[in-house]
């Protein structure tokens, strides 16, 4: 039985295709003096990294086995649903996104593929595309769908590619899992930084969400608040990742 499961989940990894994303200006939810950032062209994985792909990674890099991962890099929930070091949980879908991985683990995974995690700005730029538009942030039905997807439970066990394919050919930017970004800890939540006091209030007072002019801000608010609330060695059931690369 064990052997069968092993061969079924092993060797089946297909290398994830990367899609080019055209750079552009982005107005992040908050945090910049000038209000706009420029994002360069970059490449992004079309799918989130899956359970079986991560299993292959762990086989190749035993330092990332559950038993070996150091607590400074991953807390006790790392791969907590797995049956053992080299076996997914029996209830787990091999083609669902890997979750319960820390930022350090995600970073190491991407580095081993000669890739990296996308930055917050890159991720947001790719995620604002709907099926037909590169920038759908003012499309209210698209935004409504995003918010509805945030309210749907247990989407982490769905197969990657099962939601929608966006303008750039990227799947599931909303609707499966939250995703790690390289600089997720650039969202400041503690208020003692004097320069940033205003932005913090804007981000964390509920007023910011209420006064937000549209649904786009509401959905973005949820993402930024989530990023601001996590630490790099956390492993969360609905938080996965995909990799990026500079052009």
């Amino acid at each position: 039985m064990g052997l069968l499961a092993f061969s079924m989940t092993g060797n089946s990894q297909t290398r994830t295709i990367m899609r080019p994303i055209k750079g552009g200006t982005l107005i992040p939810l908050y945090g910049l003096d000038s209000g706009k950032v420029w994002v360069d062209d970059f490449l992004l994985d079309e799918f989130a990294v899956t359970n079986e792909q991560y299993l292959d990674f762990v086989k190749k890099y035993p330092e990332w086995k559950r038993a070996n991962a150091k607590s400074i890099f991953a807390d006790g929930n790392y791969l907590s649903e797995w049956q053992s070091d080299l076996q997914l949980g029996s209830h787990m879908n091999p083609k669902a996104p890997i979750t319960n991985v820390s930022w350090f683990a995600a970073k190491a995974y991407c580095a081993c593929q000669d890739k990296r995690l996308p930055s917050v700005d890159e991720w947001e730029l790719a995620a604002r595309a709907s099926e037909t538009k590169a920038n759908a942030e003012n499309d209210s039905s698209f935004n409504t769908r995003i918010i509805e997807s945030y309210e749907t439970p247990n989407t982490y066990s769905k197969t990657v590619g099962s939601t929608y394919k966006n303008f750039w050919g990227i799947y599931d930017m909303h609707g499966l899992v939250w995703e790690w970004t390289s600089d997720f800890n650039s969202v400041l939540i503690s208020g003692e930084s004097r320069q940033d006091g205003e932005a913090d209030r804007n981000l964390f007072c509920a007023g910011a969400a209420i006064s937000a002019s549209n649904l786009r801000d509401y959905a973005a608010f949820m993402r930024y608040a989530f990023r601001g609330s996590i630490k790099a060695n956390y492993n969360i059931k609905n938080l996965g990742f995909r990799c990026a690369k500079s052009k």
Binding site: G31, I72, S84, L188, I189, S190, Q195, A199, G228, A232
Partner: protein
């Protein structure tokens, strides 16, 4: 209700018995699943865990803090492999700082608001602790601008001179990783400015985080006390 109480007490008694028995048979090793699949169930012979099939390990091996072959704890910053340049343009790894208590802050030299106060705080801690067994480490969050030369000039300007002051430039990625170890947050908000949380962190001689002081203008008495205690360890 009552029965559940009784159950609790019974299981407690059972647990105490279990542990008591363990100490009695101390001479022969007990074995346990490393993943604790069956909680605290132990075996008196080696084997595999019936749940996860992993090899059972000695109970005694789980009690001691887990150290790798170099004796570095899992929680130590010495697990980070990153390479850094000091203000004297020497290349170092964090493990090179092993054996000293470390007081660490992340700043950038062109910062005009919070950093001078953080650095003043570091100087203040330095003079209060007044002990050569401590290193004071300033890590730049703006490594593109803060070259070793610039850090050297900054150290001079800010009177951070002597062997105990270490200013570090790293790669962008490694700086981000280091900030995550400190749970410190920062963002570049313009070509010359960063917003950042103000945290001074204390590490013991083995690189394990022991204390953090957050905020500007807070009393550093507790931190100083902590540093002094760690020197004695």
């Amino acid at each position: 209700m009552k029965t559940s109480h009784l159950k609790n007490i019974l299981s407690l008694v059972f647990l105490i018995c279990l542990f008591a028995c363990q100490t009695q048979v101390n001479s022969s090793e007990q074995y346990i699943c490393p993943m604790k699949c069956e909680d605290h169930k132990t075996y008196d012979h080696p084997g595999t865990c019936p749940v996860c099939k992993m090899d059972l390990v000695k109970v005694s091996s789980l009690e001691a803090p887990i150290l790798d072959e170099d004796g570095i704890s899992e929680e130590s910053i010495f697990n980070l492999q990153s390479e850094w340049k000091t203000q004297d343009n020497e290349t170092i790894h964090l493990t090179d700082l092993r054996g000293k208590v470390l007081v660490v802050v992340m700043i950038y030299t062109s910062c005009e608001a919070a950093c001078p106060r953080l650095v003043a705080d570091m100087r203040n801690i330095y003079s209060k602790v007044d002990n050569p067994a401590v290193d004071y480490v300033l890590v730049s969050i703006d490594p593109e601008k803060d070259t070793p030369e610039k850090l050297k000039a900054y150290a001079k300007e800010e009177h951070l001179e002597g062997d105990q002051w270490i200013l570090l430039q790293g790669k962008l990625d490694d700086v981000r990783e280091f900030s995550n170890v400190l749970s410190m947050k920062y963002k570049k908000i313009s070509p010359i400015d960063f917003s950042h949380t103000n945290i001074i962190s204390v590490f013991d001689k083995n690189g394990v985080l022991q204390h953090q002081q957050e905020g500007l203008g807070v009393s550093n008495d507790k931190l100083v006390q902590e540093v002094k205690a760690l020197i004695e360890e």
